[in-house]
Subunit: 685 residues, 2 copies
């Protein structure tokens, strides 16, 4: 590992995002998602399932207050009330009870994280006041020794930490830490951060390689990467150690989840029927992480784990761990990635399917999994600036991540298919997880707040830095401040991604500054031209490095030709043999019924009409359809005509076709014009 | 309706099957399946789940004996022990308990039915003795008032007839009747027939349109068609009435299954949470049968119902019922039928999927459903001799029905997919219902005995008769006796189907006989030539009718050219667009890994290589591979070469291919040479 190139994301306060494209998304999050989310947390969205989140914190807070003031207080003995506990009468939930999913606390943590990011770009005293009050409620629920998960505080602390596999305690810790760090970094206020540290301390006291400590690890990963953020913001070595312990311990024998399950059964006086040899591939816990070479199991869990592994590898200089990250990355990118940047081919376990199994209509491709893939990619970039990571991160961000949210910020996709026939989604039990239109909120509300937090912090994916280099991974327009050896340089990036490939970077500085500016050259523009006066770049791993003394007003001009690409999948992908998809820059396109009529599967592309560089395709800049600039593609095609016979099977005859146009829109814009068919991969000749 | 053309299947004692192809299958059933089945019924197949069937009859028989001799006897009060009740310790099942599925009695009924058919072709005193002893055991279990379902006799008669939807009582009645009629027709012994009549009487006393009688109907249809057989063999009008009642009542409001469910909940003091408006499409009970026009729900249930509807329509001259049958037939054949004659596109509910949804790899296509489709087809032929029914019946029989059984008669498929990649079946939860190799037996053993009964009675699908006509629907070789106005004519059919299209029919009679011989002309041989000396046929609905005075030695020569057909599906079938399949005669072909190597999806047919009449395809008569004559096809093809890049996605380039041959074998022979890939539909240019 070359520690010289290690980088960290820029502090969001170092950047002012002016990018037309992303600013619009960020404003949606600020104006629509964050307020809506707050209402949801407080169970006041009409027609939506209550979150119960703030209610649970208040309930736990009352119990803590009682405990502090009443020496006779007897905490409740644990009783399991289900993974998602709902009141018998939703109108009249019982006082003193925990409701919702076991991980419901994280609704708050994800919200406060997005709030933190948003405040860096758009100060909002009103919002900050609401957040501070919410933090008071949350902190009041913490136990005197630092534990903070209302599920066990309310249901009975005697069972805390006895079901790491299913009950998401360490997942709650992870999200709390992420939210606390973000809010602290945005506002400088540390109340929540201190609470998060105390919870992390509580766990660090009880988990670790030392004798007598618990050998468990999170059932749903995230604490691994969250603890690294806590370490990076506090400097406390024990958080790094705890994260590393979770990573190292995962998948070791005896398998912790099996042992834990056995212990619970024994405690309940039941015969254990589990399998001690099943470490659980669903949880990526079937073998030690350094021996893993195929991305398996629940896709979100997987990429969250890999993100934490990459962090630990970077901070501990662990080559074997980095090697595992690289193998898992390659496995995803070469065998398990949708052309939309989505991952997770199967609804069964919301999981990675087997290699090259990328079904289009029954895809799971969870929004959160694409977000997690961006987490993983950014962390690999921090270790090793190689454009292959940024290329995939960009693909995930501009396609599946954004597809997760409607263009008005008011409804969301959990699942992001690549082929939709609405009537089939309704009639076919195999497709019941696929929604043809976005929904307002989910009881298990992971995706909307996850979009909120990644969109609000997009700049930290675009720019990372180390002492002598500022890396531009994504061309997100804005002013970025960078300290080079005590001297400030401001880089003004004017970009119109993802529609235009011209980027102008202007350097602003009061005095000459020496340092390196590194720019990624995307795979989709092999003929990228970079100029910067007399400065000559050094090219390495898909990045152009300009090093030298910078003067105010110097400009770097980047031209990334935006060719339309007709893409084929590796023929090992059975679903996509004889098919093509269309991309331009990082954007994947799709056809919608709104533009093409129904029965999209009858449309076929004749590759001979297209030309080697997409000459046959008409590109149209469109400002009207979606309320912001987008690009449409009009592809020459053929439409299969109805057969002469209504018979199901006939002797083969050359198919009758008529000339047609395939009208394509960016994938992330789909399902914003009512319900209809959608298709990404097209039959071709 | 034209009652003049109504026909009934020939009695199996009127025919001696000599057909090479079917005789081999019948001998497998006689030598392998029937003995194996008997062992299975008696729980003595090592490694297979016990059937518990004969054990349950014995248990019930003991209870009946106790009841007869002991005035103090108190029958058990009903307690539900699960849809499939298994002992805690399989080695030591408790005495006096019912075990197995609620419909386990039918294992016996299906066996005795196959035994009956088999005895008509191959008298076997030993087998007949075993059967008689089994019948004694079964009849001993009947209650004094005629009820005969061991599930309730053992578990508590107080709950009998309170869960028609789930607990299969009337299904048990139906199979018992079918078995009893077959055994009576074969042997003339009526002990079981009388028991079946008594059970039918018991039901007829309690169900019907009359006030005070139960308005229910079978949760799993079969009684409808079985009662018709009972009516036809006994002449008892009440069985026809009961069948008609079941057909008429189905799907009427208030929905019986919902009301029954509600009554059970109320009796148990529970709040009913069901939906009174849900008649259950799964059970074809969501609307009155005469209003049904789409085949929906559990596929076996559906075609069993339609068979009963056709029977009732014929015997009552009910045009509206016949119209419903015709609509449902058309719906299946035009929108829901696999090229293998299979039906039921989805594992969810083992059901028909929506129109044109015919997935190949996740197909359900249950063996029993194809058998049920043959039942339905034969009944439609009985009403209206139209070759369109026989064409589909033949397709089901020569493909999916036979695919259900291994060529050695020792293992079976429940599910008959059209595309198999064994590793995918193991790894992909969406394909877990698909087995790449046949299994010895099933706990829910419907398919193996269903194959046994249809194969043993194949002649009754091939030949039907009325007073003045003998219909040949399938060219199954043998001697068929027909009485024409008191004079006997024997028709000797020499055929070598499905491999050769020459059929020679020789008439044998001691004195001249006047009558009509009708021969089906299959859709797959439009250029069929029929000659019969000076006699000129009349053609109608795909049948050639020869009428006149027949003399000993007269011959009818039939030549059905066996062209190889390259078949395309209606483009509404998304799965099969741009694909072709191959058929010859009624046989559908497939490619197996054993002949073609793996990755069958990389093989592609160029339609230009084939010619309009399949000239490019080499046909080979093969006597070695499968131990009996079959045909192989060798189709010119191209194999996609591995791409130059290991990348998942690349800019489209003309694919690199090499010339290849696609080696095809009959679909019914697949999976007899170890585990491997299989494919029916091929990519084409």
């Amino acid at each position: 590992m070359d520690k010289q190139v290690f980088s960290t994301p820029i502090d969001l306060k170092q950047i002012t995002v002016t990018d037309t494209f992303w600013h619009r998304e960020m404003e949606l999050v600020r104006k629509e998602v964050i307020p809506y989310q707050w209402d949801a947390l407080n169970d006041r969205v009409p027609g939506a399932d209550p979150s119960w989140c703030m209610r649970n914190f208040r309930t736990a807070g009352k119990m803590m207050a009682e405990q502090r003031t009443n020496t006779q207080y007897v905490p409740p003995a644990y009783s399991y009330r289900g993974f998602n506990a709902l009141p018998d009468d939703p109108e009249h939930p019982e006082e003193g009870r925990f409701y919702g999913f076991v991980f419901q606390d994280t609704d708050f943590s994800k919200w406060i994280e997005a709030v933190g990011y948003s405040l860096t770009q758009h100060p909002d005293p009103e919002l900050e006041k609401t957040a501070d009050e919410a933090i008071d409620v949350v902190c009041a629920a913490q136990t005197p020794d630092g534990y903070l998960d209302t599920y066990y505080i309310i249901n009975g602390m005697d069972a805390a930490l006895t079901n790491l596999r299913d009950n998401h305690e360490l997942y709650c810790l992870g999200h709390l830490v992420e939210g606390a760090v973000a809010y602290y970094q945005a506002t400088g206020k540390d109340k929540l951060l201190r609470a998060a540290c105390r919870f992390a301390d509580y766990i660090a006291d009880r988990f670790g390689p030392e004798e007598g400590k618990c050998k468990g690890y999170p059932g749903h990963e995230i604490a691994e990467m969250a603890l690294i953020r806590l370490y990076e913001v506090t400097g406390e070595e024990k958080y790094l150690k705890l994260s590393k312990f979770f990573v190292d311990q995962r998948g070791q024998k005896p398998f912790y989840f099996a042992m834990e399950d056995k212990a619970r059964a024994e405690k309940a006086g039941q015969k254990w029927r589990g399998n001690p040899d099943d470490g659980s591939a669903y949880h990526q816990a079937d073998k030690p992480v350094r021996e893993q070479d195929e991305a398996v199991g629940h896709a979100v869990r997987a990429v969250y784990l890999y993100s934490g592994m990459a962090d630990v590898a970077r901070l501990t200089g662990d080559d074997s761990l980095l090697a595992a990250c690289e193998r898992l990355w390659d496995n995803i990118v070469k065998k398990k990635l949708y052309i939309t940047g989505g991952i997770g081919g199967t609804v069964h376990g919301e999981a990675f399917s087997y290699e090259y199994d990328l079904p289009n209509d029954s895809a799971y491709s969870e929004t959160c999994a694409a977000i997690g893939l961006a987490f993983f990619a950014r962390r690999m970039l921090q270790i090793k600036p190689d454009s292959k990571y940024a290329d995939v991160m960009e693909m995930a961000l501009y396609n599946t991540v954004l597809s997760g949210m409607a263009l008005d910020g008011k409804s969301f996709f959990y699942v992001n298919p690549l082929a939709v026939v609405p009537s089939a989604c309704r009639k076919d039990a195999r497709l019941h997880h696929v929604q043809p239109t976005r929904r307002k909120w989910f009881g298990c509300a992971c995706c909307p707040p996850n979009i909120a937090r990644i969109v609000s912090s997009i700049a930290s994916y675009a720019y990372t830095e180390n002492a002598d280099t500022l890396f531009t991974h994504l061309y997100v327009g804005g002013q970025i401040e960078k300290d080079f050896g005590g001297k400030k340089l401001t880089m003004q990036v004017d970009a119109k991604m993802p529609w235009h490939g011209h980027v102008y970077v202007t350097v602003r500085c009061d005095e000459p500054v020496t340092g390196t500016l590194a720019f990624r050259m995307p795979y989709w523009a092999p003929d990228t031209v970079l100029t910067c006066g007399d400065k000559q770049p050094v090219y390495k791993d898909g990045y152009a490095y300009f090093t030298g003394e910078w003067h105010d007003g110097e400009m770097i001009r980047l031209h990334m030709p935006m060719m339309i690409r007709m893409v084929a999948a590796n023929p090992a992908v059975r679903e996509d043999v004889d098919k093509v998809a269309f991309m331009r820059g990082p954007v994947t396109f799709c056809a919608e019924e709104a533009d093409n009529g129904g029965d999209l599967h009858l449309l076929r592309v004749d590759t001979r009409d297209i030309g080697d560089h997409g000459e046959g395709i008409i590109r149209e800049f469109d400002f009207d359809t979606f309320g912001h600039e987008t690009v449409r593609l009009h592809v020459p095609a053929r439409r299969l005509l109805p057969p002469e016979s209504s018979a199901l099977y006939t002797s083969w005859q050359p198919p009758r076709e008529e000339p047609a146009k395939l009208h394509l829109v960016p994938y992330y814009t789909w399902a914003n014009r009512g319900e209809g068919e959608m298709l990404v991969w097209f039959r071709r000749k």
